[in-house]
Amino acid sequence: MSQRVVAFLFFAALIAVVLVPPPLAAQTANAVKSWTPPKTADGVPDLQGVYSNATTVPFERPKNLGSKEFYTEQETAEKAKADAAAAAARAARDADPNTVHYDLGQFGLDQRVTAVSNRTSQVIGSEGTIPPLLPEAQARIAAKNAAMRGHNFDDVQHRSLSERCIMWPNEGPPMLSPGYNSDLQIVQGPGYVAIMQEMIHDTRIIPTDGRPHLPENIRVLMGDSRGHWEGNTLVIDTTNFTDRTAFRNSGENLHVIERLTRTSDKTLLYQFTVDDPKTWAKPWSAEVTWVGINNPIYEYACQEGNYGLPNILSGQRAAEKEQANAAK
């Protein structure tokens, strides 16, 4: 049952309202040149707006597709039909009152706006998958798991950063879709680009004045970001991560380079490359197209409403008591 609950939580039904981006070849980092974006009053490219970064493209390429990076027009249509059928089946299951979960559809959390894409995976390139973990990374992760085993519910400190409302993995950087409330807002002031992610309201303020990174000894969960413009693209370089950030099992040497380019009035192309020589043998890259939405960001105050975490610990303490009593 719990496996099914977990699977449900990973893959919810989704009704995609798809907007129409202009026809663009956007499949390599250098390809987005054929449209001139507007500029802010300060004369830099204007990336501002509120966007959805939800996507129907799987993060890694399904194994059966091998090195196929793009679907044909017909294949994209067929995939959409297959996805729709699968999602309809899940929607039927979601409405099942025997699911130990609230009904996502009831709260509109299965509705989102995505851009069309014919990519077979967000991870680009002929492999379309994240490189395998280096042996030292595997050892690092195994040691962590061993320390956790049997202690997962001992106390709040053993729960995940997301359950604790400290930081959610979608925030990164790199910034990825959290699955719902998949929204971000960009506001630009002279010399700065601010990116606010709805979940969980963290705001990255990225200076573009050429200042250096923080000193090496200062490590922060979301890393320290510095930006500069390359033509119409904002390039963001982030370092100074902690070893608890652990994006896709990486360590504190994680280095993220992101690129944001407006590709139409309604779309932004978001590309990123990550490297960590202690986790992967080579860097890898991915991209997603964001779509402008006509709503503001609504506050997502996580810590302030976090009944779930104490309820989980309390549930576990109750279960332990029950077991202890049964053993008597």
């Binding site: 990973f10 893959f11 039904a13 989704l14 995609a16 798809v18 907007l19 129409v20 026809p23 070849a25 956007a26 499949q27 939800a54 129907t56 493209v57 799987p58 027009e73 996805d83 729709a84 999602a87 409405a95 009152p97 130990v100 979960h101 609230y102 009904d103 009831q106 709260f107 509109g108 959390l109 509705q111 989102r112 851009a115 069309v116 894409s117 014919n118 519910f153 997301s162 359950e163 409302c165 979608n170 990825l176 879709s177 959290p178 699955g179 719902y180 939405i293 006509n294 709503n295 503001p296 609504y298 105050a301 996580c302 409403g305 009944y307 779930g308 309820n311 989980i312 309390s314 549930g315």
Partner: protein
């Protein structure tokens, strides 16, 4: 290099989100062995994150009233559809099917929550502005 294709897809497509938006362990909080079916009157709707909570008074067969709180979803998508904090008024009579908290308290998750007459709580044909909701920008 391929052009991106664009057309309107009506219907559902499979979501790809990060695994960890399953941001907490429902199985640890609520007990599949304790199903509940409650009918009661809404006393408060906490329109908060990460989960909204419906508080309701449930009258037992003996006439005794018990207060329950039922976990629901983040309300932010409801706001985008035009719903507001007034969209589930105090006094509404609702029916909750779901599961009770593992620690036995009068708390549960509502896997199916409807008005007494069987209607879903947040009908998707409500238009923005109907409940005094914020007009979307632009």
């Amino acid at each position: 290099m391929r052009a991106m294709f664009a057309w309107l897809i009506a219907g559902a497509a499979l979501l790809t989100g990060l695994p960890a938006w399953a941001h907490h362990a429902f199985a640890q909080e609520f007990d599949e062995k304790r199903p509940i079916k409650l009918q009661g009157t809404v006393t408060k709707w906490e329109v908060i994150n990460p989960h909204s909570w419906i508080h309701l008074d449930v009258k037992g067969p003996d006439g005794k009233v018990t207060s329950w709180m039922i976990e629901g979803g983040s309300p932010n998508a409801l706001f985008r559809q035009g719903f507001t904090k007034d969209s589930l008024p105090t006094g509404s009579e609702i029916v909750v099917e779901g599961f009770q908290a593992k620690d036995g308290s009068t708390r549960g998750v509502g896997s199916n929550v409807v008005f007494k007459d069987g209607r879903k709580l947040f009908l998707s044909n409500n238009t923005p502005g109907q409940n005094g909701a914020a007009a979307p920008e632009n």
